[in-house]
Symmetry: C2
Subunit: 291 residues, 2 copies
Amino acid sequence: MNWDDLRYVLAVVREGSMSGAARALSVNHATVIRRVRGLERGLGASLFDRDGHHYVISPAGEVVLEAAERMEAQAATAERLIAGQSTALSGTVRITAPEPMGTEFLLPAVREFNGDYPDIVVDISLSRRAYDLGRREADLAIRVTTEPPLDVVGFRITPLYWGIYGPAGCGLLAADVEKVIVEPGASAGVPDWVLQFLPQARVSLMVDAVELEVAAIKAGYGVARLATQIGDADPALERLADMLPQYLADIWLLTHVDVRSNARIRVFRDFLIDYFEHNHALYQPRNLGAR
Amino acid sequence: MNWDDLRYVLAVVREGSMSGAARALSVNHATVIRRVRGLERGLGASLFDRDGHHYVISPAGEVVLEAAERMEAQAATAERLIAGQSTALSGTVRITAPEPMGTEFLLPAVREFNGDYPDIVVDISLSRRAYDLGRREADLAIRVTTEPPLDVVGFRITPLYWGIYGPAGCGLLAADVEKVIVEPGASAGVPDWVLQFLPQARVSLMVDAVELEVAAIKAGYGVARLATQIGDADPALERLADMLPQYLADIWLLTHVDVRSNARIRVFRDFLIDYFEHNHALYQPRNLGAR
DNA sequence: ATATATATCTACATTTATGCACAGTTTATG
DNA sequence: CATAAACTGTGCATAAATGTAGATATATAT
């Protein structure tokens, strides 16, 4: 049995197809098919059943999948622990953050950081998808959350205050708003905050990117919930209401405990924290609760 | 990271050298070196330090080793569980047993079994080394033990009675014996049973094969402890004493719980148990405790 | 219906990994 | 001290795995 084939099974199950797994693994789909078949031959059992044109996992496949998941956790732990021992101030540091943080905060910070540590290259991934610090898909993560998980070390960069924003000069009152733009959430249906702050509103649009939300507000699609750090910075937007105090969250800078002693990661993390301290005012909302 | 490389690290540590690992894995030693180096490059850490001409594991290596051991356990479990689902009455069944069981019991049993199930080929490994049922180095094991471990299903074939044997007609009394042949055991020094039953004896020879013990007794090297099933069957040997009741053990037929539902293994196991029932008398000691 | 996108499968070319042979070193042994 | 046995290291031929490309099938959308 080739242990590496189990990684392929994992990818096939996660991606839902041979082709998808091939993309995720950056190999050819023919390779995925051949390796899964090879594993099946070696084990003397078929791991997937053909359902028409798709593969669905078999009972024997479930057994292998479970083992593969545990093996992945072991391998990832070893990888993190070894990465944590690295003392070189060179190499790559991967950071993931929500899109709005990219241009506003990360890009200027990294420019300055590069001057101090020219041998460390920073890899920024702006994505809605939560990169897994456990699997070491990223070394650092900037996340909006109320409480970070236990296996990471977190630094609370700043509180995040939500506000309801409409086009500048619209003169609307929150209670009268009729159309609201929301982000597609985990639970279907109208979000709680809409019911509470915008009792008259109906959902006019769902968008999963902050830039589009902002553009949609300006184009008159309705109002939307934005972080005050975003909304207040744009003169074309007007804050109709604060969402206090229930909808407070924080912006956290997170690292997995196993890699926190890695020199280049620590240095970049410390830099980001320090950078934020010195540019603090930029991220503070104005006139909060004044209404 | 290629998970299969972790199997190589495991082998290098267990065998103590690149060359040894290569033999254990049935690959060329150059391959082992290259793959370990590849893994080290991928992780950015050296897993082994060169101590003169040998490899000794490094701190980072220990981390990987530990993960690899756990991954091996996961992979082995999956392998066993899948083997347990097999219902075909064909393929290979591997059984390991102490050497004396081979010709006396297993060989005639398997001959008969082959008549009933011609598509099942039995692979007999006679070895002092304990094949690992957990790693599936064998499907069935005949072992001498007082209590089988918890993760196996055991069938107690028969009690094992030990006796002290000398050459036939030697007329010795156990208390007067001067020379004893022993098997090299886990703990160095004179075994307890020698002190108790042969107070005057000194160790004249250490042998790790029962046939050699028997031959040595006949050649006058001294007396030895043998199972009554072996000693009584040889007319050239004479039992000088029984070792009762402290040194009772049992002969067990063992299978890992995960593979017990495998059809060909179950069928062979049931056959062996049945075969023994019908040839029971052969394995019973005569005149036990008569002295 | 037609077009588009996605998935599986197979033959063939190409890249990559492996085995082999030999060299160089160290350790064990008489 | 000499010899054998074991281990590591490296270039080269070969074998094996991978990528490529073209074909077929299925679902989805226009």
